[in-house]
């Protein structure tokens, strides 16, 4: 007898396929949570085609704010649970655990039981920080236990093997316990009738796509506590507005995603069913031309189906609101017709840059982007898009030195997305007077919008007077239909420009002042405590 533990649709698929391919004749138990059987009801007879028994535990019944309490409660819960279900873990030949950092994984480590680790989703074994960040927000004590037990990366010695897709791990990833399993390729190994059963279980219909379609694989950010529901709406509105172009948009919802895309994007299509994206190749006759995802692991498995892949990593979850700054900076490069010049970047989100360059409406397609790791690498005759957060004093000094030594062919575009004016120092404030502030205005075109309307400012530095003139005389407008706003940069008179520069200096000074007020308070408090 064997036991599979699975709590997501992907993990369920993984368990089913593994069972059919490698343990067809063995009796198998599926251990899962109430959340999964809500999506795929337990009364469905379909389970019996794969598993001899399905047992359901209620993870929300395990409570405890402190690690020790939580461990005790987990132990108690599963001891009673398996007694009630009359399951003796010692009788099992193998235990396959997807989502090892679940309560069940913790329980197994606690009772010193060996098991086989199955990757949560493809590519995650080498990217455990993604899971850790989510778990930290959802349940801190549980996260701390999972981390100390080595359950995110499967480092615990009780773990015998780690089943994962080795081809989509981070470059250079090595693990002696790793065993390669590619779920998509494994599906091809199933007998036709077995495959049909799997597809039926998940309710996968054959769908005819408009050839000129873009598939968006969604994530359930709000459910995971990664962002608010409003921000989840905004992130997809922005992506559709910037990247869908003439494509017909098709949403493939993450099985746990509750978003009402059909209401938010009336022109789009939302695929029915809560199936893992890995089954998509069996759903469409002609795959859509493009696919877009943010932090979706499924693209690792099915990416080769699409001509155009617009992929954002999980950093985008924190940085998507800065996209207007990126777009505006690149739009200015577009307007300035720097068609043959290399674009360098420093401290920016590379995926946003690359995707905007290649897949938005900018005329910068296929332009190469070079990432600089050191400010001192900025040389003459270059175009650099820069951003920085929490820069140290040295970086501040370096960038000022760098600005001073640049020739007139160079253009620096400061996104200033953290509004910390890291390129400003009191001693060299005249430099800011030479920078051209580009104010990005946002005006609402709809009533219910999720985008704030506060204007944003990026700064462009160049010594070239002709370029300066071109910048100040450039303007553009961009409708973001789904976001419900118009984005625009307008020409400015010299007076307006000067006011904007002074406002920038004032804001930079205020930031610095705030910093010193904070330091002063901390110092005063320390002195008071000592007295």
């Amino acid at each position: 007898m064997i036991l599979y533990h699975a709590i997501s649709s992907y993990q369920l698929l993984q368990s089913m396929v593994h069972k059919l391919l490698y343990h067809k004749s063995k009796k198998a138990i599926l251990l899962t949570t109430n959340f999964l059987v809500e999506k795929f009801p337990i009364h469905s007879k379909m389970y019996s085609l794969f598993f001899d028994e399905v047992v359901v535990y209620h993870s929300h019944e395990i409570k405890g704010q402190e690690k020790l309490d939580l461990l005790d409660n987990t132990n108690d819960y599963f001891t009673r649970f398996f007694e009630k279900e009359k399951i003796n873990l010692d009788d099992l030949d193998h235990i396959f655990v997807s989502c090892a950092h679940s309560f069940f994984g913790i329980y197994l480590i606690n009772i010193k039981k060996n098991f086989i680790f199955m990757e949560d989703a493809s590519g995650l074994l080498s990217r455990p920080e993604i899971l850790m960040n989510i778990e930290k927000k959802l349940f801190l004590a549980k996260h701390e236990i999972s981390e100390s037990f080595g359950l995110y990366n499967g480092d615990n010695e009780l773990i015998l093997e780690k089943y994962c897709n080795l081809q989509v791990q981070l470059p250079g990833f090595k693990d002696s316990k790793a065993v390669h399993i590619d779920i998509v390729k494994s599906l091809d190994l199933l007998l036709p009738n077995e495959l049909e059963i799997v597809l039926n279980f998940f309710g996968v219909d054959h769908i005819n796509f408009d050839e000129n379609s873009m598939l968006i694989l969604t994530q359930h950010f709000a459910n995971l506590g990664i962002m608010s529901f409003e921000d989840q709406i905004l992130i997809y509105q922005l992506l559709v507005d910037y990247f869908s172009l003439d494509y017909k948009v098709i949403f493939k919802l993450h099985p746990d995603d509750l978003m009402y895309y059909n209401l938010l994007f009336p022109e789009s299509v939302s695929l029915k069913g809560k199936f893992p994206a890995e089954l998509l190749p069996y759903a469409f006759k002609n795959p859509p031309k493009a696919a877009l995802t943010v932090s979706s692991t499924a693209i690792n498995n099915i990416g080769d189906q699409f001509e155009r892949k617009i992929i954002f990593d999980n950093n985008f979850e924190n940085e998507f609101k800065k996209i207007h700054r990126y777009y505006t900076a690149l739009k200015f490069l577009d307007l300035l017709s720097y068609s043959n010049r290399k674009i360098y970047s420093y401290g920016v989100n590379e995926a946003i840059m690359k995707n905007l360059i290649n897949y938005s409406d900018l005329n910068l397609y296929n332009r190469s982007l070079y990432e600089l790791s050191n400010i001192n690498d900025i040389s003459n005759n270059c175009i650099v898009v820069l951003d920085k957060h929490d820069c140290d004093v040295n970086e501040n000094i370096d960038i000022i030195k760098c600005i001073k030594k640049l020739d007139s062919n160079s253009v620096l575009l400061f996104l200033n997305s953290h509004e910390d004016y890291w390129f400003y120092s009191l001693e060299s404030k005249k430099l800011l007077l030479d920078m051209i502030p580009i104010t990005i205005n946002k005006t609402a075109n709809a009533k219910d919008i999720y985008q704030d309307l506060e204007s944003e400012t990026i700064y462009i530095y160049t010594k070239n007077e002709e370029v300066k003139k071109m910048i100040t005389e450039s303007e553009f407008k961009r409708e973001l239909e789904n976001t419900g706003i118009s984005l625009g940069v307008e020409k400015k008179t010299q007076d307006e420009l000067r006011i904007k520069v002074l406002e920038g200096i004032l804001e930079a000074t205020e930031k610095r002042l705030l910093h010193y007020i904070k330091l002063n308070k901390e110092l005063a408090s320390k002195i008071e405590n000592k007295m």
């Binding site: 809500e38 459910n223 009402y260 209401l263 205020e510």
Partner: protein, 692 residues
């Protein structure tokens, strides 16, 4: 049969008397567990209520007509009020409903909200539409009578809106159909989607769930559907309304009908805000039920009492709906603006607008820094009055009118420094006044420049200035030309301007009046409008008030005296400080022009800017909402100054609110500051100083 008897008993023991109904419902909401285990206790409590309300005729605390409150209400102090109920985020609430086949929603106060804390306030608005005195009372009585008639004729108390207006037609002559049409139109106009439930609804729809609505109501299904559609709820499988079926949720029969129609083999859940019909009755017929606490019940105890009926209901309705629907949690600063400042700023701006229209004022001048938020709200509401933002301040006023206001100059610049929380040296003071040339005369008056100004030496310092008044005048009057040019530019061709300030004596406007009308003779009349007038010296501006040179919105020495007295007599004269928190701005106070004609500013309280932005956002949001809700009922904009002040009076009933949330907020009470050390007082300093 037994059920019918029980229903009848419940009707006579509870429902028939609104005082009993109100208190019994409250009791049941709060003691669900106790009621389940000890029914006898509930019956005893009910017996007691009948004794109190029927025999002794003691009214309930919360009654139909809002009788005066016995209990003093206090602001919520534990943090943000919007965090009080700790509702699940709507997508989590929706997720928990996914295991059901059919989801049933109550309609009013669950799916749909009104910008009124009591549905009966809507009848007052109907009174205005019908131009009929006391229509509200007629409407309430007609419904009671219609229900009584139904009980006799049909054996139940279900009525339709037509039954109600049939009675109204008889009593008033208002055509029945017209009356129904007006009430429905008004409901459609005022009702708005509960943003929390709209999100839940949209999620459920997207998940392909079957959704129905169930309501005990006198409006027919078709009417209810119009309201739901207007609110953005599209896609109900069924809408069950009690008046269409002659039975109700309360008596469970409406649920039974619904179950039969949708198929009672389904797993059904009902969500509603009224405990007995939405929870208990649903559970009786095997429907799972989820209680969604009524937003007005959640916020009622924190809303101020004593406001006029309609404005009070609108104010409380908007605040309760916004803070307690559960879609978002705000912070205490935003809420300070939204709950306690929004109504006043909105009301004041409307009052200014009315004043300038009536008095043919050409231009409105909003004085810095109070005018910052006033102007934003004003321009958000109106676009037909030219207005300017004018850099002015107490310190500027004191300097530039020093030639005619020596006492004011000495009091603000010198005397107040001796009672300041922060120690200021003689040298710093002279420097801040640009009068360092007087340092050489200090010894003549027994002063040293490093001395801290205090009650012991303040007289000598005053004498120094009095004896050298020509130096003072020369210093400030020299900047007058720049100032004149500035005002010529601001005033333009206007022949009459209104100067807007928060208060308290209208000194700023009076100073400008002196300069514009008398000194520069600009052929322009200057009127002073202040939100309120109050001063330690109570009759300081009595002449200006009596001559209508200074007009006040909320109170003054001879207008709304109760407010004037309570403002001055509570919290040891610190109420002005808390009140002015609404109207700070994210830049420093104007201090005048320097010798090169450049603008000079006071110390920037950078550490306040984040707080100020949040307060302003709260004020702005309230104003926008109030404006949008009542744009078809513009008379609702006329918020009496008395009402506008009451939310603030409530929050100042307990200064703990300010100690808890604003202790670190910088606040400069006097003019001029400690330039050397760049310090200003904080609210915490002020509270400590007066032992509050």
């Amino acid at each position: 049969m037994i059920k019918k008897i029980k229903d009848k008993m419940f009707y006579y023991a509870v429902e028939r008397n609104p005082h009993i109904l109100q208190e019994y419902q409250q009791y049941r909401w709060n003691n669900e567990e106790l009621h389940r285990k000890h029914r006898l206790k509930s019956w005893l409590y009910l017996g007691n209520l009948n004794f109190k309300h029927r025999l002794l005729k003691i009214p309930s605390e919360v009654t139909l007509h809002k009788l005066p409150e016995k209990r003093v209400r206090l602001p919520y102090l534990q943090g943000a009020e919007s965090n009080l109920l700790k509702r699940k985020p709507p997508h989590i609430f929706a997720r928990d409903l996914l295991s059901y086949d059919v989801i049933s929603f109550d309609i009013f106060d669950t799916l749909v909200l009104r910008p009124l804390d009591d549905p009966r306030a809507l009848f007052m608005i109907l009174g205005e539409k019908h131009n009929y005195l006391d229509f509200s009372n007629i409407r309430i009585n007609a419904e009671v009578q219609a229900r009584d008639n139904a009980a006799v004729l049909k054996g139940n108390r279900e009525v339709t809106i037509f039954d109600i207006y049939e009675i109204i037609e008889k009593r008033t002559g208002i055509n029945k159909d017209y009356g129904v049409q007006i009430e429905l139109e008004t409901e459609i106009d005022l009702c708005f989607a509960n943003p929390y439930m709209l999100r839940v609804f949209n999620i459920l729809r997207a998940q392909g769930k079957r959704i129905i609505a169930t309501s005990d109501m006198y409006l027919h299904e078709s009417m209810i559907r119009k309201i739901l559609n207007k609110c953005g709820y599209i896609g109900f499988e069924e809408v069950f309304v009690s008046c269409d079926y002659n039975c109700s949720k309360r008596d469970t029969n409406l649920y039974k009908i619904a179950l039969k129609k949708i198929g009672d083999f389904n797993k059904v859940v009902h969500i509603g805000d009224n405990y007995v019909p939405d929870i208990e009755s649903a559970q009786k017929v095997g429907i799972d039920a989820i209680y969604y606490k009524n937003v007005n019940d959640a916020g009622r105890q924190y809303r101020t009492e004593g406001m006029s009926d309609l404005v009070g209901s609108a104010y409380a309705g908007i605040v309760n709906a916004h803070l307690h629907n559960g879609i978002k949690e705000y912070d205490p600063y935003y809420e300070y603006g939204f709950i306690y400042g929004g109504l006043y700023v909105f009301g004041y701006c409307n009052w200014i607008h009315e004043y300038v229209k009536k008095n043919k004022v050409d231009k409105v001048l909003f004085l810095s820094r109070d005018g910052d938020i006033y102007q934003k709200v004003f321009n958000n509401l109106f676009n037909d009055v030219p207005n300017e933002y004018v850099f002015w301040s107490r310190i500027a006023n004191t300097k530039y009118t020093a030639d005619v206001n020596r006492d004011d100059f000495l009091t603000r610049m010198i005397t107040h420094k001796a009672i300041n929380v922060i120690d200021i040296t003689v040298e710093d003071l002279l420097k801040s006044l640009n009068l360092s040339t007087l340092e050489k005369r200090l010894l003549d008056f027994g002063l040293r420049k490093e001395e801290i100004i205090n009650k012991g030496n303040v007289k000598q310092l005053e004498n120094l200035l009095i004896e050298n008044w020509d130096v003072v005048i020369e210093r400030y009057m020299g900047e007058n030309e720049v100032l004149e040019d500035y005002f010529i530019n601001v005033i333009g061709e206007s022949k009459k301007v209104a100067v807007i300030d928060v208060g308290w004596l209208g000194t700023g406007a009076m100073g400008i009046k002196h300069l514009v009308e008398e000194k520069w003779k600009m052929n322009c009349e200057v009127k002073s409008l202040v939100a309120a007038s109050a001063s330690w010296s109570r009759a300081a501006n009595i002449n200006e008030l009596m001559k209508n040179q200074t007009e006040t919105y909320m109170f003054s020495r001879f207008y709304n005296r109760e407010l004037f007295d309570s403002h001055l007599n509570t919290n040891k004269n610190t109420n002005n400080v808390y009140f002015e928190l609404f109207t700070q701005a994210c830049y420093p106070s104007f201090a005048g022009f320097d010798v090169n004609s450049n603008f000079e500013f006071d110390i920037p309280e950078v550490e306040n800017y984040d707080v100020i932005k949040k307060i302003h956002q709260g004020i702005m949001d309230f104003s926008t909402m109030y404006n949008e809700f009542f744009e078809n009922h513009s008379y609702m904009y006329n918020i009496p100054g008395y009402d506008a002040y009451l939310p603030f009076r409530m929050v100042t009933r307990n200064v703990e609110f300010f100690r808890r949330f604003f202790s670190e907020t910088a606040f400069s009470r006097g003019v001029g500051a400690d330039y050397t050390n760049q310090r200003t007082e904080t609210i915490g300093d002020i509270l400590n100083k007066v032992n509050l």
